[in-house]
Amino acid sequence: MSVKAFELVPAVERELLMGDKARINIECIECCGKHLYVGTNDCFIHHFLLEEHTTPKGKLAFSAEKLLHKYLGLKKPVNELKAASALDRLMVLCDNTVTVVDMVNLEAVASGGARIKGVLSFCVNENPVNGDPFCVEMAVIAAKRRTVQIYMVYEDRVQMVKEVSTPEQPCAICLDGYFLCLALSTQYMILNYNTGASQDLFPYDSEEKKPIVKRIGREEFLLAAPGGLGMFATADGISQRAPVNWSESVIGAAVCFPYVVALDEGFITVHSMLDQQLKQTLSFRDGHILQDFEGKVVLASTKAVYVLVPLPLERQIQDLLAGRRVEEALTLAEGAQRNIPKDKFQIMYRRILQQAGFIQFGQLQFLEAKEHFRKGQLDVRELISLYPLLLPSSSSFTRCHPPLHEFADLNHLAQGDQEKVQRCKLFLISYLREARSTEGANGCREDVDTALLKLYAEANHESLLDLLASDNACLLADSAPWLEKHRKYFALGLLYRYNGQDDTALQLWARVVDGELQDSTRSDLFEYVVDFLSFCSNLDLVWKYAEWALQKDQKVGVQIFTRRAVTEDQTGQMSPDAIIKYLHPYQEATLLYLEHQVLDRKVQKEKFHTHLAVLYLEKVLSLLSQSPVPDREVTEAREQLQNLLKESSLYRVQLLLGKLENTELLLERATLHGKLEEHDKALNILVHQLKDFPAAEHYCLWASASQEPSYRQRLFHLLLGVYLDPEAAIAPGDEHAHTVAAVDLLNRHAGAFDALSVLTLLPEAWSLELLRPFLSGALRSAMHARRTSQVALGLARAENLLLKHDRLKYRGGPVLVSEKKGCQLCHNTFTEPDCVCLPGGVPVHTHCAAQRARNSPRKQPSTTPSNHT
């Protein structure tokens, strides 16, 4: 398929040029601004003013006004024309001679110096090396001399600056900077006329076809190659673009970026330089000349002149997009980047990318579409608006005009294919997610988040909750009905909560928990609500729903209070006292709450401890009053009670003792007696009523746990006494049991007893063997104690001795001072009896020692000044 890139518009009709004179043909043309010069084979130059205007139909048209025509006075054709507008000069090649004429009146410049003879062809340097703006550089092929000459053309004279010879006769020439691009008779070459360096390009046959050498840009040329190719070559002799495949018989070629336009006998062909493809063919008979002048492509048949007008790039691109040729359109747009101002290009290119994205989106090529949307910085709402009902009704968005695509909405696009719809929705989800995480959603976060919420809810997508739980901008008014419609009540609650409507959220959730509404999102919704309440800072709300929660399940409901973070405020609504008061009707909850306070938080408050103990007790008693008695639960409940009674020392013992008076809870009573230090009562209960000897022994250990060893000894003796008490009313079988228990006790805790007093207590009848472990244990510990103290005594003595030794040693011998003896520091003799003794017993003057100490303050000698007489 082709592109309509150009339009052929007539510029100068036959009538204006030669009328009906059949033998007169156009030989060459030159276009400079609005000035068009035409050279004919009858040695005339015609000068036209070319005006551009738009027809009522919107088409571009030209009208030519003939200004002048001038006969050069020879019978030769005018071969080449070239204008130098800066100089107001026109260079004319006729009869192998270049003459310089005035651009306006076409009269030859007066001086004879402005003339070059023996010229085959010439060209002007469009990338001049000379800085002078009033000087044109020109390269000339000398006829039959295998040389190229470089001239400087001034207003009134020409001056040759260089002459280079070529290996073969050149037949076409082009100049850029110092680089001459030449078509020789068998090959093309690049020649640097400044350095003389040359570079062969490729061979061709000038006999077979006319060469084409065309400068297309800085140091780049277009050449006609064998096989109907248009080859590109840089001044370095490298091809940087792939060749285009035009026809074998090309007469003229030009580049009108991004197209290569070529003329052959019957057609104008247009190839893209970007992908080398043929894009357009225009029929053009008797084509003769194709040349570009300052970006304008002008053609001539033998009789008339035409302009090849490029269609606006945007229109070409839109044509391509309309044909869904996305890649070509983008290539064309990218290729045009250089020729369009940057900001304008950006706007255009973005729009093309967006359009391309929608075309691919319509073809479900999501990956490509996404890439194009991203690069085109598409307003996300353009995409969202394709999906019915996704944009919030409050959104101010309207689709861009003209529209970026042809779709009314998703249903139109999918044509009823539900699978397609589904895939499009999945795409939108992934697209919006990415848009959220990047800058893409700037300025329309509400729309994006609301749309995403709706998609998630509809697709039952797990990310719905993540969206609502994180920072979001979902619009409540728009989302709520949607979530209700899809029975996403939990999510709706989250949305309410996010919008600060905790009460509404709780109301909704309570209805779900109560089974009024159906939403299976969370099976543990009740726990969630309780957890929520435990964190909720709105206390009114907490009280409002606490009752509902406690009625639903005390055990879970109480977590509202137990999980709540501890506040400093101990008197307000959330003080433990207030809570306990509130919880009163809910026994289980009260118990759990007190447990939390006493056991977990270790609150040291008599009231709580007593209350908890009483509750434990009541629980045990109520369990015991059941029939049959649930053994396991009783054991559990008693263990809890016993633990509390043992561990805590804050509860009111007498109160509990009173409550236990007439119960069978003997162990508990013993413990309470122990708390009151009524150990005899406790042990009596344990030994005589309960007959639980290990418990009694354990009791001794427990009661003395944080006491002196002597306290423990006292308890053990007490227990032993209880065991051996002959007075106590013992049942006949018990006596033996008590004896065994006593022996065991002695043997097990030999070290804890005072052996001597034990021996006096023991009945005479007991065998030694029976008490052997006790006796040996007691002996051993007594022995150990004795030896330990002996060692300690010995060590203390030794230390004392050492100290004495040191003391004597430091006292030292006598220090002698006389008038004959000199001071070690100043070497003067002593005159006074006062002296200071340095370590080692050396006597020095007191002032010498003081001076020394001053001089070395850091190393002050630790000598103790001592006076000796």
Binding site: A225, I238, A242, Q276, E327, L330, T331, E371, S430
Partner: protein
């Protein structure tokens, strides 16, 4: 109809990235200046265009005889590598040395089922490489290996599975065409190429590494060939960059240098 891979949105990113992005998506690669040039040379019908197409587009398709030449830009890490596909036809022979000018690597391609195609490399194409870089790397590549080598056929089955197998993998028919060019012949040619270029055989890359047998049809060894060469031309790019950077006057740098030397004047 070809079904594109992007049906499943939740497809793992790995799969997505594994697919080559189509040409138009590659950030208008055409506008970038290539850092280095690779040229495919060889007689007509040996499969130069198909090799390049297989590598760039990941598929094999019938191509028409290349007119003149074509080139692709391949982004390889931070570098742009231009790969020139030349026309094998005698008609375009004259253009060859221009394509080869300043090439960093040249892939001499022959057809394993056609002895003449190997001979042509030496007779016609070797002289075109005169314009290439002095340290140009040469690879000798025998294409159409799927016709003679069962191993090369297998590649297709693997590829087909990966692509989602639109058509059942073609029967593992034993290759029927006679292999005319042996690997040893290619290795010998590689030696002669180095001698022609007056490069020291011992200093150059060993022939075993530089002779490939490929199949554009099945993809056999195609990635290996191009990617081996890309890695080999990297030093050339670096060298070129450093050469290009030195003559450039960096005003910032200059000022810095002056400051450090200013000591004696102050």
């Amino acid at each position: 109809m070809k079904v594109k891979s992007n049906i499943d949105i939740a497809a793992s990113p790995l799969r997505v990235s594994k697919r080559r992005v189509p040409r138009a998506m590659s950030d208008s690669g055409k506008m970038k200046k290539p850092d280095v040039k690779l040229v495919l040379l060889g007689d007509m019908n040996v499969g130069k265009t198909s090799l390049l197409h297989r590598y760039m587009e990941r598929k094999f398709k019938e191509t028409v005889s290349t007119v003149g030449g074509a080139f692709f830009l391949k982004q390889w890490g931070p570098y742009n590598i231009s790969i020139w596909d030349t026309a094998g036809r005698e008609q375009f022979h004259g253009l060859g040395s221009m394509y080869c000018r300043n090439a960093a690597a040249i892939i001499l391609t022959y057809d394993v089922t056609n002895w003449q195609s190997l001979a042509e490399l030496e007779e016609r194409f070797l002289s075109l490489t005169d314009t290439a870089n002095e340290d140009c790397i040469f690879a000798i590549v025998g294409n159409k290996a799927d016709l003679t080598d069962p191993k090369a056929l297998e590649a297709e089955e693997m590829e087909a599975e990966e692509e989602g197998a639109e058509q059942p993998p073609s029967h593992p028919a034993s290759p029927t065409v006679l292999k005319q060019v042996k690997r040893e012949d290619a290795i010998a040619l590689y030696g002669r190429v180095l001698r022609y270029k007056a490069q020291d055989e011992r200093a150059c890359l060993p022939a075993e590494r530089m002779c490939f047998e490929t199949s554009a049809k099945t993809g056999y060894n195609v990635d290996l060939l191009f990617e081996t060469l890309f890695d080999m031309v990297l030093p050339t790019i670096l060298k070129k960059r450093s050469e290009n950077s030195s003559p450039t006057v960096d005003l910032e740098e200059c000022r810095g240098a002056k400051q450090t030397k200013a000591g004696c004047c102050s």
